[in-house]
C-alpha cells in the first residue's frame, strides 16, 4: 500500500452492504445427491473436453468423463458414481440461455470413489510432476476465472515467480464460500499453498483476506503458524479487493503494467479454493468434482454454504435450502459480477462460487436517468477510468472514442453501475462496446485476409498472362525461326539446283 493509501484509506472501489451473514456462520452442509447430474464439458477457459464414456456406461466418482482438447483445456471427471444416461445439450449458465454439451449421470447413490493414490511427500517431486498431477485432476481457477491452474503453474515457472499471492479476499457481497473454506479447511488450504509454492518456485506466499472475516483470518493464521514464509495479511474490506490487480497492488505495492501479466512482475495469484483443490489433487489424488458454494438471497429460507457435486441443477440446489416462493431473479456468482440465469434448470460448474435467489425487493432494477456528470463513477473506478465519458461515447456509437478513453482497461467490476445515482447500466454499455469492437476487429482481420488472397489472385493471373505471352512469343519466335530456316533451306536447295542446272 502506498503512503497516501495508508493515511487516507483506499481511494478506489465501493463498499456495498455485504449480506454475508448469517449465511457465512451456518456450518457447511453436503448437498444430498439429486436425481440427475448434468456435467458440462466446458467448465473452464479454453477448449471443451472430449467425452470418452458411452451412454449406459457405469462410472465411479472421480472417473475421467472427458479428456482435455488443446493446450489450454481441462479434463472433466464424474462427480459421483452412477450410470451415464445421456450425452447431449443443456442450457448454459449464461443470460443468453444458449445450449452447451453435457454428460448426464444418474447417480446410484453409493457415491463410490475410484481407487485413488495420493503423493505422500509432494516436495520430493519435480515441480513439473506436480503440474502434471494438477492438470490431470482438472483443477481450474476457482475464484471465477476458471483458467486451468496447471497452465498458470508453467507460466509461473517460466517467469521466475518469487511471490505467490493467495486470494482470500472474497469481496463480492452475499458470498462466503471462501470464508467457510478457510474456517473449516485452513490446514488443507495452507498445504495447497505450500504445494503451489513448490510447483512455481515461489519463495513466499501472501494470503490476502478481507478484514470482515476475522474467524477465517484466525483459522488461517493458526494453520500457517509453522511456516515462516506464508504470511496471512488482512486487507481492507473494499470491493473489488478480490480482483487480481487490486490485490497485488494492496499486498505488494506493485502495479501490473497494462499489457503485462502479473507473472512478469514475479507475482502469481491463486484463489484459496484453488489451493484446497490442489491439495486434494496431489495429496489424495482426487480430481475436482465438487466444490463449496454459497446459496443466499432473499428468496432463500435457509441460506448457507453447501458442498455441491458439479453438474447439479440450480433448482435442485435451491430446493434443499427451503426456498421462499419463486425467486424473482437468479444469479450465478456474486451480485457485482455474477451471471443472470434464464431459469433454474442450468447446471453449476467449477467456477460457480454461489447461487443467489433474489426476492422482488432485491431484484429491483431502477430505471436509468440522464447522466448528471456527478463523477461518482470516476471516484469509484479501481482502474482510474472515466466511465461517464466512455458511456457517452458508446451511446453515440463512437467506439473508437470510447477505446481511446481506456475501454480495454475496464475490468467490468461493476463499481460504476453500482454507484451511479442515475442508475445507468454502464457495465452493460462497456460489455456491448467491447463485443462490438472485437467483432469489428474480427471482421477487419477477415477482410485483410480476403484482401491478401485477392491480391495474390490478381498477381497470379497477371503472372500467368505474362507467362503465356512470353511462351507465345517464344513459340512464335521458334516458329518464325523454323520458317526462316526452312525458307533458307529451300532457297539454298533452289540455288543449288539452279547451280546444277547451269
Amino acid at each position: 500500500m502506498g503512503l497516501m493509501e495508508r493515511i487516507f484509506g483506499i481511494s478506489w472501489g465501493v463498499h456495498p452492504d455485504d449480506h454475508k451473514r448469517p449465511a457465512a456462520d451456518v456450518p457447511l452442509r453436503r448437498m444430498p445427491l439429486p436425481a440427475r447430474l448434468y456435467v458440462p464439458l466446458q467448465q473452464h477457459v479454453g477448449g471443451a473436453g472430449r467425452p470418452i464414456v458411452l451412454v449406459g456406461q457405469q462410472v465411479l466418482k472421480g472417473q475421467l468423463l472427458a479428456e482435455p482438447q488443446g493446450n489450454i483445456s481441462a479434463p472433466i471427471h464424474a462427480p459421483t458414481s452412477g450410470t451415464v444416461v445421456a450425452i447431449g445439450e443443456v442450457t448454459a449458465p449464461h443470460p443468453s440461455s444458449l445450449p452447451f454439451a453435457a454428460i448426464t449421470i444418474a447417480p446410484d447413490n453409493e457415491d463410490r470413489w475410484l481407487e485413488t493414490t495420493g503423493v505422500a511427500d509432494p516436495f520430493a517431486l519435480e515441480p513439473a510432476e506436480i503440474t502434471k498431477l494438477v492438470a490431470a485432476a482438472g483443477v481450474v481457477g476457482l475464484g471465477g476465472a476458471t483458467f486451468p491452474s496447471s497452465v498458470k503453474f508453467s507460466l509461473g515457472k517460466r517467469c521466475e515467480v518469487t511471490t505467490l499471492i493467495v486470494n482470500g479476499g472474497e469481496c463480492e457481497p452475499y458470498l462466503s464460500c471462501d470464508d467457510r473454506l478457510m474456517r473449516d479447511y485452513a490446514a488443507e488450504v495452507i498445504d495447497g499453498v505450500r504445494i503451489i509454492m513448490h510447483a512455481i518456485g515461489a519463495r513466499q506466499a501472501l494470503v490476502g483476506i478481507e478484514n470482515n472475516k476475522p474467524e477465517a483470518t484466525a483459522a488461517m493464521k493458526k494453520a500457517a503458524e509453522a511456516f515462516a514464509n506464508i504470511h496471512i495479511r488482512p486487507v481492507p474490506a473494499r470491493y473489488p479487493m478480490g480482483s487480481d490487480k487490486q490485490l497485488i497492488q494492496t499486498l505488494t505495492g506493485k502495479e501490473v503494467p497494462a499489457d503485462c501479466r502479473a507473472a512478469e512482475l514475479g507475482v502469481l495469484v491463486h484463489n484459496v479454493s484453488t489451493a484446497c483443490a490442489v491439495h486434494r489433487a496431489v495429496r489424495l489424488g482426487q480430481p475436482l468434482v465438487e466444490r463449496i458454494m454459497t446459496v443466499n438471497g432473499g428468496a432463500v429460507g435457509k441460506p448457507g454454504n453447501l458442498l455441491v457435486p458439479l453438474g447439479a441443477l440450480v433448482e435442485d440446489i435451491l430446493a434443499c435450502c427451503e426456498p421462499l416462493g419463486e425467486p424473482v431473479r437468479l444469479v450465478m456468482g456474486g451480485p457485482m459480477m455474477g451471471n443472470l440465469l434464464p431459469h433454474g434448470r442450468v447446471p453449476v460448474v467449477k467456477g460457480t462460487s454461489g447461487i443467489l435467489a433474489f426476492n422482488a425487493a432485491e431484484a429491483v432494477t431502477p430505471e436509468a436517468g440522464p447522466c448528471i456528470r456527478c463523477g461518482s463513477c470516476t471516484k469509484a473506478c479501481p482502474m482510474g477510468l472515466l466511465p461517464l465519458e466512455m458511456a457517452a461515447r458508446v451511446r453515440a456509437g463512437d467506439l473508437t472514442g470510447a477505446d481511446n478513453y481506456g475501454l480495454k482497461d475496464c475490468i467490468a467490476c461493476g463499481c460504476c453501475s453500482y454507484i451511479c445515482p442515475s442508475h445507468i447500466p454502464l457495465v452493460q454499455y462497456f460489455n456491448h462496446a467491447k463485443g462490438e469492437l472485437s467483432a469489428q476487429q474480427r471482421t477487419k482481420l477477415r477482410q485483410d485476409a480476403t484482401k491478401v488472397l485477392a491480391q495474390a489472385r490478381v498477381e497470379r493471373q497477371e503472372r500467368e498472362v505474362k507467362e503465356k505471352a512470353i511462351a507465345a512469343a517464344a513459340r512464335k519466335a521458334a516458329r518464325n525461326a523454323a520458317r526462316a530456316a526452312a525458307a533458307a533451306a529451300t532457297n539454298a536447295a533452289a540455288s543449288a539446283s539452279e547451280g546444277a542446272t547451269t
Binding site: 499489457d259 512482475l265 456528470r373 456509437g397 454499455y429
Partner: protein
C-alpha cells in the same frame, strides 16, 4: 447502432445498486440551502418570499413547457428536483425586492435557454441559474443592482403580505428611500470618483459586510455562515468534494490578500471579498454544479481556482461590481478542456496512456 441495448432491462451485472438517486441529491442540496434562504426571507420580508416563489414557479413552467414541446411527460422529469433547484439558486442571487417580471424572465430563461435547448439535465454546458442571472444583469441593469437595506420581516416598518405583493407587482413606492449600494458596488463607485477606501468605507452611510449577514445584497447571498454550514453538510454527505469550494475561496482570498497588502487604499481586504457578494454561495452551491464542472480532483482544483481568481479580477478591475456569475460561466466554457487535459492516470499506464515498464515496476 442498435438502440435496444440502451432501453432494454440490463442483463449485465451488477445486480445490486446503491440506494441513491438524482432527486435525493437535489433534495439534500435544497435542504442545505434552506437555512440561508429562510434567513434571507426574514431579512428582506414578504417581497423576497414572493420573488423566490415566482422565480421557482417560472423555472418549473419553462421546464415543463419545453418537455411538452419535446413530446415527453413533464411530471416525472420535474420530480427530479433539478428545475426547482435552478430556480431556487437564481432567486437567491437576485436583488430581494426585484419586480415580478425579473423573476419570471430569469426563471424561464434559466430553464429554456440555460438548460432545455441543450437537451435537458446533464447536457447544458453552462450553469443555468448563472446564465439567467447574467442575461438579466446585461438586459436590465437597473432593477438588477437595486439593493435594499435589510428590513427584517418582524420590524414594524416592514411591508406586510399585501404590501409585499404591491412591491412585487408595482415596484418600490419610493426607490431612494430604501435603495442603497452593496459594499462592492459602493467601493467601486467611490473609487471611480477618486475617493479611496479609507475615506469611503469609514464615511457615514457606507455599507459594510457582517459575518451575521445583516447587510445589503442578494436575497440569499448574505448569510455567509449559514451558507458555509450548508456547504459543510454537503461535504459531510459527500455530495460535493472539497476541491472546488476550497480552490475557489483561495482563488478569491489569495489575490485579495496580496493586493490589500500592497495598497490597502485601493484594494478591499480578503475578509470583505469572502463575505461580500456571492462568494460563499458560489463556492459551495454554484461552482460545484456537477453538470458544468470538471470530473477529476485535479480538474476541480483548477476550475475552482479559476472561478475564484476571475471573480476577484472582475470585481477589482472589471466593469461590474460583482463577478461570480461571469467567472463561473467563463470557467464552464473551459470545463471540457480541463476534463480533456486532466484525465486521471489509468491503472498500469502512465499519464500519457502508455503501459508501464515491467522492469521498473519489478
Amino acid at each position: 447502432m442498435n438502440s435496444s441495448i440502451f432501453s432494454a432491462a440490463p442483463l449485465s451485472a451488477p445486480h445490486a445498486h446503491i440506494d441513491a438517486s438524482v432527486s435525493r441529491v437535489m433534495r439534500w442540496v435544497m435542504a442545505a440551502l434552506a437555512p440561508a434562504t429562510l434567513y434571507g426571507f426574514w431579512l428582506f420580508g414578504w417581497p423576497a418570499i414572493d420573488l423566490w416563489l415566482i422565480t421557482v414557479l417560472a423555472t418549473l413552467f419553462g421546464e415543463a413547457l419545453c418537455l411538452r414541446l419535446a413530446g415527453r411527460r413533464a411530471l416525472p422529469v420535474l420530480g427530479d428536483g433539478s428545475a426547482i433547484l435552478t430556480g431556487w439558486l437564481l432567486a437567491l442571487s437576485l436583488p430581494p425586492w426585484a419586480p415580478w417580471w425579473v423573476g419570471v424572465f430569469g426563471g424561464l430563461f434559466a430553464a429554456v435557454f440555460g438548460k432545455q435547448v441543450f437537451g435537458g439535465l446533464g447536457q447544458n454546458p453552462f450553469n443555468p441559474a448563472m446564465v439567467a442571472r447574467v442575461a438579466l444583469l446585461i438586459s436590465f441593469p437597473v432593477p438588477m443592482t437595486l439593493w435594499v437595506a435589510p428590513l427584517p420581516i418582524t420590524a414594524a416598518t416592514a411591508p406586510g403580505f399585501v404590501a409585499g405583493l404591491h412591491i412585487l407587482f408595482h415596484g418600490l413606492p419610493n426607490v431612494d428611500a430604501v435603495a442603497s449600494a452593496s459594499v462592492l458596488g459602493f467601493a467601486k463607485t467611490e473609487l471611480t470618483r477618486g475617493i479611496d477606501l479609507f475615506h469611503s468605507l469609514l464615511g457615514a452611510g457606507a455599507p459594510h459586510t457582517a459575518i451575521s449577514g445583516f447587510r445589503q445584497g442578494s436575497l440569499g447571498e448574505s448569510a455567509s455562515l449559514l451558507l458555509a454550514g450548508g456547504g459543510l453538510l454537503l461535504l459531510g454527505l459527500r455530495i460535493i468534494s472539497w476541491h472546488i469550494p476550497v480552490a475557489m475561496l483561495v482563488g478569491i482570498a489569495g489575490p485579495a490578500l496580496i493586493m490589500h497588502q500592497i495598497d490597502p487604499t485601493h484594494y478591499l481586504d480578503a475578509a470583505t471579498h469572502l463575505l461580500a457578494g456571492g462568494a460563499i454561495l458560489g463556492a459551495f452551491f454554484i461552482a460545484t454544479d456537477y453538470v458544468t464542472s470538471p470530473n477529476t480532483k485535479g480538474g476541480q482544483i483548477v476550475f475552482g481556482f479559476g472561478c475564484g481568481f476571475l471573480t476577484y479580477v472582475i470585481r477589482t478591475w472589471g466593469g461590474y461590481p460583482e463577478g461570480v456569475a461571469f467567472a463561473v460561466i467563463l470557467m464552464n466554457t473551459l470545463t471540457p478542456v480541463i476534463d480533456r487535459v486532466m484525465m486521471p492516470r489509468i491503472y498500469g499506464r502512465d499519464r500519457r496512456g502508455t503501459p508501464l515498464e515491467p522492469d521498473r515496476v519489478r
